[in-house]
Symmetry: C3
Subunit: 176 residues, 3 copies
């Protein structure tokens, strides 16, 4: 996997589950000088998630600070202004899922706030998100709501980001 194009920030990386999007996003951010900030939106609720997080962490090791941020992503991105440190957000879909399941804030308002923070970012910013809409319509109403929210959010982020790349089997395909 060799990313062929210059990084213009904000940079959105979209891909299916296990498509290699996080590894690609890390390659993009490493074109900048450390130290890097990793904004992790996952909530560790079970052993399966713990294992996923461990694998991601081991890959990063030094030169990285991790901020756990399951809910307050817009605020976190805003407070990073002025630091000049490259920031990787992984990932938007987990954050949306946390909002839908555990937060009293309406996700739509949170997405508005996120877009404001992304537009206002004065540091190199790479954002990872999942494609979740290319399967069969889910039977579960919450899953359908999540799918619509994720798709709409990806569209809004793709509109404000200067670079958008889809990752398939670890290989980048530039969309913008």
């Amino acid at each position: 996997m060799s990313p062929e194009h210059s990084m213009e920030s904000p940079f959105l990386v979209i891909g299916a589950a296990k498509s290699g999007k996080s590894v690609y996003a890390e390659e993009i951010i490493r074109r900048h000088e450390p130290d890097y900030v990793y904004v992790a939106t996952s909530q560790i609720l079970d052993g399966e998630m713990e294992q996923r997080v461990r694998v991601h962490r081991e890959r990063r090791k030094e030169h990285w600070e991790t901020i756990e941020c399951p809910f307050e992503l817009p605020d976190t991105l805003r407070t990073l202004k002025g630091t000049g440190r490259p920031v990787l957000v992984d990932c938007i879909t987990l954050w949306l899922s946390n909002l839908l399941c555990f937060s009293p804030i309406t996700p739509e308002a949170a997405v508005d706030a996120l877009c404001d923070s992304v537009c206002g970012a004065d540091y190199p910013l790479v954002i990872v998100s999942n494609e979740v809409g290319a399967g069969i319509v889910p039977e579960n109403a919450l899953a359908r709501k999540f799918r619509d929210l994720a798709g709409a959010t990806n569209q809004r982020l793709a509109q404000i980001c200067l670079s958008v790349t889809m990752v398939v089997a670890g290989l980048p395909l530039r969309l913008k």
Copy 2:
């Protein structure tokens, strides 16, 4: 989202749920002079669908005539011959779902008739369809049948259309 390429009709727009494919299809059709025909295949069976349809309608407003067409899509496209009006069909996958669930016609015969009508169209024609096969194999047999039918129909339409574009997060990726 700025469509970079000339419209050659028939034009197929494929994308995941909430990928921005309808908005893109409307951009393509608007390169032609109004008045436009919107062929809606959805059946409004519940409040969730009603809300979706309302959002699509508000975006279109004037210069559009809407034809509700949950089943008779091949006939509708045939009767539009000679009018010279640009036609947007949204979407094929809902139409297939209606056929599978509520119609005595075999879907395969209906798809044959659809392909004949698309080939015979003498007006600018943009067709929207979903990618539904990039998730896990569904446990439900009807969902598997639908998935196979949708994939096979997309392949046939892609073969007879002069332009085929995939939309990801609102961004077009030309396939043909």
Copy 3:
């Protein structure tokens, strides 16, 4: 569907269900002289699968030898060395599913062995695999495990293959 690029082996073809990936893979392999070897990983467990296999077989007809290989794929590919015959493997995801459900071997070890065999192949080799990670997270734990395994395997194969193409609605999109 007209494949525009030269075949460099090993060649990976990725696509959704019913995306036309098998037909495309057969087009690629047919640029070589017969006789061809078709390595089928499917297990015929029910009438639905029998029907799928029958359709694939009728398309191939002469100049093809079929090897049924639901489990021993790495060994089979190794024993084909020295024959010089073009080989089509269809598909990796069914093989992984067989391993997960019916085999005592850990899938990870089997994927290591597969990658060794692919790297060592001295004959034209085309490999078909599914994208299964672009839908909603499955509720079923085994389905999630399968999805992760399929995604990780696709990444590894994409890294060692010289050509990688995604197929959407029968149309090829070159990734590598």
